[in-house]
């Protein structure tokens, strides 16, 4: 076989790291991304990245990082990979530091660390409050260097539509669409690594970016890749609600001492800053004295829901609570949190250094994703690998803050070399695959597009269908889940899928037609929404972010298992596989203990 060919789809942290690892081994990479990779969603990450470097004399260790992660994830994560990630994390930080990330420093010139949710240690390295941006840029620059040496070829402004499978069900290439010319084309490869990020857009409004539709994951699912633990959706406790997106106010605000409260007197009409200290209810500190404001996200989110909806103690006029940093010195705020305070100031028009911020929970992250094995980031389809938020390992039933960036980079580090090993071991490479196999897939995709372009009698608006899907998913499939409502959601998704067949494309041009691309994504989102809802309906227990008041306990006897969804001729089926708990015995998860 000649030189193997590797394709990476997605250029966030995971995709760029995978690209670097493949290029480093001397094999050229074709890198595909909808947006220029430097504009990937990873830029949004604010607070930081975890690694137990123990530079603060606290006795932190990678084992404690591992324990916090497994415990925080309510024992649903397969343990060996998580342990590997936590052990690799300190070296990952060193690598990023060598790449020039402008991490905050201590007076001695060492890396500074702060505290995040779900841990008692200062374990989070950060670059102001724009850590994801800084990390993404560092990797982007390394990839640009490989690009200048012709080891990486970028296809920015291309969207992935499907994989090319041969008759034996082996991945032999991908099929993509140029978002400018709308040309549909296939690209042969021996292995493809998918790093296509989150799925927030399925929920309408979330903290995610516009391209986080999960469309690629759904397309792969429809071609035979398992989708695992889809029902585990993280709702972040503190975001600014918005009509276009909910803007995150990072956990780092609390890591630096920010406090969450509501007025003791429900209906108190005074401005937050005028309410005296003894008339404030710091409910997280009160209910969870040991972790205080830094309980894990699922716990904080449910607490806010309880305050606002059950106890009716939310702020006047809107479902919200205060996130208060006004007691922190201005200089500290500007040095460590400027990035997020600036977001609040720009979008709300109020200076959070002066007045407490008004926040409310918002859909933020998917713990579930493409199923990958326990060592190589390999999916069940030969030649398809996945890393980053789009796959399901590492976070179990709830992700700890600042653990995603490290899992993305670690996953990319594993996926790159694993794909190379696989490609090198192939008896016969993609160059020997008959052209008809590629042409078959191209025609299948072209037909889907043509059908949309030629449908002239459509009456349904894509944005309307998307809004309705997002609304019902947010209402019924986020913080609190009742089986009756999940069932109603499935009925609604049926209705939307039926209306989708009568979509009016509005734009039939063949040049930079964003509507066409969105409609294709919407079709995939509707299927992913169903996978998430079905998983939630089936799982009759409460675990991590998955909360059912009718089944309020974790049920290890019946549900300590991974959900695996598969797709056969338009039908979604759920099956389960055991979780690898070989290193830590599951124990009760409780954050209420005294300090």
């Amino acid at each position: 076989m000649t030189q193997p060919k590797i394709i990476v789809v997605g250029g966030g942290l995971a995709g760029l790291m995978a690209t670097i690892r493949v290029a480093e081994s001397g094999i050229p990479v074709d890198l595909f991304s909808i947006v220029p990779v430097k504009r990937s969603h990873s830029v949004c990450a604010q607070g930081g990245i975890n690694a137990a470097k123990n530079l603060k004399g606290e006795g932190d260790s990678t084992w404690k990082h591992f324990d916090d992660t497994i415990y925080g994830g309510d024992f649903l994560a397969n343990q060996p990979l998580v342990k590997g990630m936590c052990e690799a994390a300190p070296a990952i930080i060193d690598l990023l530091d060598r790449m020039g990330v402008m991490f905050n420093r201590t007076p001695e010139g060492l890396l500074d660390f702060r505290r995040f949710g779900g841990t008692l240690y200062n374990r989070t390295a950060f670059a102001g409050a724009t850590t994801g941006q800084q990390l993404l840029y560092a990797l982007d620059e390394q990839v640009r260097r490989f690009e200048s040496e012709d080891k990486v070829k970028k296809f920015e402004g291309w969207t992935f539509l499907s994989v090319v499978l041969d008759d034996g069900g082996v991945c032999r290439g991908i099929c993509g669409m140029d978002l400018r010319t709308m040309e549909i084309r296939t690209f042969p490869c021996d292995a493809a690594i998918f790093c296509t990020g989150g799925i927030g857009v399925v929920f309408g409004r979330s903290t995610n970016s516009v391209v986080c539709t999960g469309s690629a994951q759904s397309a792969l699912f429809q071609q035979g890749v398992y989708y695992a633990n889809g029902e585990f959706i993280q709702v972040h406790p503190t975001a600014i609600p918005g009509e276009d997106k909910c803007r995150l106010m990072s956990e780092s605000a609390r890591g630096e001492g920010g406090r969450v409260w509501v007025p003791k007197q429900a209906g108190d009409k005074r401005a937050g800053k005028d309410i005296p200290e003894n008339e404030r209810f710091y409910f997280l500190e009160d209910w969870y004295p040991k972790y205080g404001n830094l309980v894990p996200r699922d716990v904080a989110t449910r607490a806010i829901h309880k305050i606002v909806f059950e106890m009716k103690m939310g702020l006047v006029g809107e479902p919200a609570v205060y996130l208060d940093v006004t007691h922190i010195p201005r200089e500290t705020l500007d040095r460590k949190l400027e990035g997020i305070l600036e977001i609040y100031e720009k979008f709300v028009g109020v200076d959070p250094r002066e007045e407490p911020m008004k926040v409310f929970p918002a859909m933020h992250y998917t713990m579930g994703g493409l199923w990958v094995d326990n060592q190589n980031q390999a999916t069940n389809v030969p030649g398809i690998y996945a890393a980053g938020e789009c796959e399901y390992q590492y976070h179990g039933a709830n992700r700890l803050g600042a653990n995603s960036l490290v899992s993305c980079i670690y996953g990319g580090m594993l996926a790159g070399p694993a794909a190379v090993r696989y490609a090198r071991g192939l008896e016969s490479g993609c160059e020997n695959v008959p052209g008809a196999i590629f042409e078959r897939e191209r025609v299948r995709q072209q037909d889907i597009t043509d059908a949309l372009l030629n449908q002239h009698k459509g009456t349904e608006n894509p944005i309307t269908i998307w809004r309705e899907m997002g609304d019902i998913m947010t209402e019924n499939v986020t913080v609190i889940r009742y089986n009756a409502n999940l069932q109603k959601t499935l009925v609604k998704l049926d209705e939307l899928s039926e209306r989708f067949t009568r979509i009016n494309l509005q734009d039939r041009t063949q040049w930079a037609n964003q509507t066409l691309n969105f409609v294709r994504e919407l079709g995939n989102m509707l299927i992913l929404a169903r996978v998430i809802t079905m998983g939630a309906l089936a799982r009759n227990e409460t675990r991590g972010a998955h909360y059912k008041p009718d089944f309020p306990e974790r049920d290890d006897a019946n549900w300590l298992k991974t959900t695996k969804a598969s797709y056969n001729d338009g039908n979604i089926q759920l099956e389960y596989e055991p979780v690898d708990t070989s290193l830590l015995q599951p124990r009760e998860r409780k954050y209420t203990a005294k300090a």
Binding site: I20, R21, E24, V35, P36, K38, R39, S40, H41, V43, C44, A91, D94, L95, R98, M99, G100, M102, F103, N104, R105, G109, L110, G128, T130, Q133, Q134, Y137, A138, E141, Q142, R144, R145, E147, S148, E156, R180, S209, V210, V211, E243, D244, R247, R335, G339, I343, K346, F347, M413, N461, I463, T464, Q506, D507, T509, W511, A512, N513, Q514, T515
Partner: protein, 250 residues
């Protein structure tokens, strides 16, 4: 009571070689709207003010919180990000146009790949030996970090290029953003070992000599990057480098 409405005027062009037309839309006002919400409203009901059916407007956007750089456009004539442009703060009718210093793709979408190419040309990266675990990075004084971090927040939006009188689609001037990135990499302990490559790239046509010191860039930058400071600093580095090379007889 009838809904409060406002008017948005949009410069549209279906393809680079097709003619320009202006369209007007009347949108329903809600509090906290930004320009992105306006464009989504239009996509949901692409009928102009006079009731003519049109197509959704093409535009770039991703993060919606001014950190990805995608959504730069001219809003009431000013180059800025659409996601942070709040309807409440804008004079009506709101006028939307594509940036003019980059090749047009469609409607409000332009092609800014020039900026990424220039980052390549100027070697804007830290050349590391490899991704293997070879220990910690160089120590860095907090004061250096505090200078470098603001520079590293550049979102490659291109607003500083849009307002620069020296940047156009014919001449090669790299613009302030790239010069500021060169300053960032030259500041880093490892990056500094290779500053000559970057400075030499900036001594070629399109380099720093093209800057006329109009100082528009610094006012246009949404991230408050001290661009004129960067231009002055790199200009100084280039001069020193040129003198040193001359003394060495290179």
């Amino acid at each position: 009571m009838a809904d409060k409405t406002f008017i948005v005027r949009i410069k549209r062009q279906q393809r680079p070689d097709e003619s320009v037309r202006w369209e007007e839309y009347e949108l329903r006002y809600r509090p906290h709207m930004n320009v992105i919400i306006c464009l989504r409203d239009i996509a949901e009901k692409p009928f102009t003010r006079s009731g003519v059916e049109s197509t959704p407007v093409s535009y770039d956007a991703n993060c919606l919180e001014e950190v990805c750089g995608a959504c730069a456009m001219l809003i009431n004539g000013t180059a800025r990000q659409a996601c942070t442009a709040l309807v409440d703060d804008l004079e009506k009718p709101i006028r939307l146009e594509p940036l003019t210093k980059f090749p047009l793709v469609r409607d409000l979408v332009v092609d800014r790949s020039k900026m990424f190419e220039d980052l390549k040309r100027t070697h804007c990266w830290i050349p590391i030996d490899g991704t293997y675990d070879i220990g910690e990075g160089p120590r860095m004084a907090p004061s250096v970090q505090e200078k470098g971090y603001p520079l590293s927040r550049c979102i490659t939006c291109g607003n500083c290029l849009e307002v620069c009188p020296k940047v156009n689609q014919r001449d090669p001037f790299v613009g302030a953003a790239i010069v500021s990135q060169v300053r960032l990499f030259n500041m880093h302990p490892t990056g500094a070992m290779h500053s000559a490559e970057r400075l030499e790239a900036l001594m070629l046509p399109g380099g720093i000599a093209d800057c006329d010191n109009a100082q528009n860039c610094v006012k246009a930058c949404p991230k408050g990057i001290p661009l004129t400071e960067s231009l002055a600093a790199v200009n100084g580095q280039v001069l020193v480098h040129a003198v040193k090379s001359w003394l060495r007889g290179e």
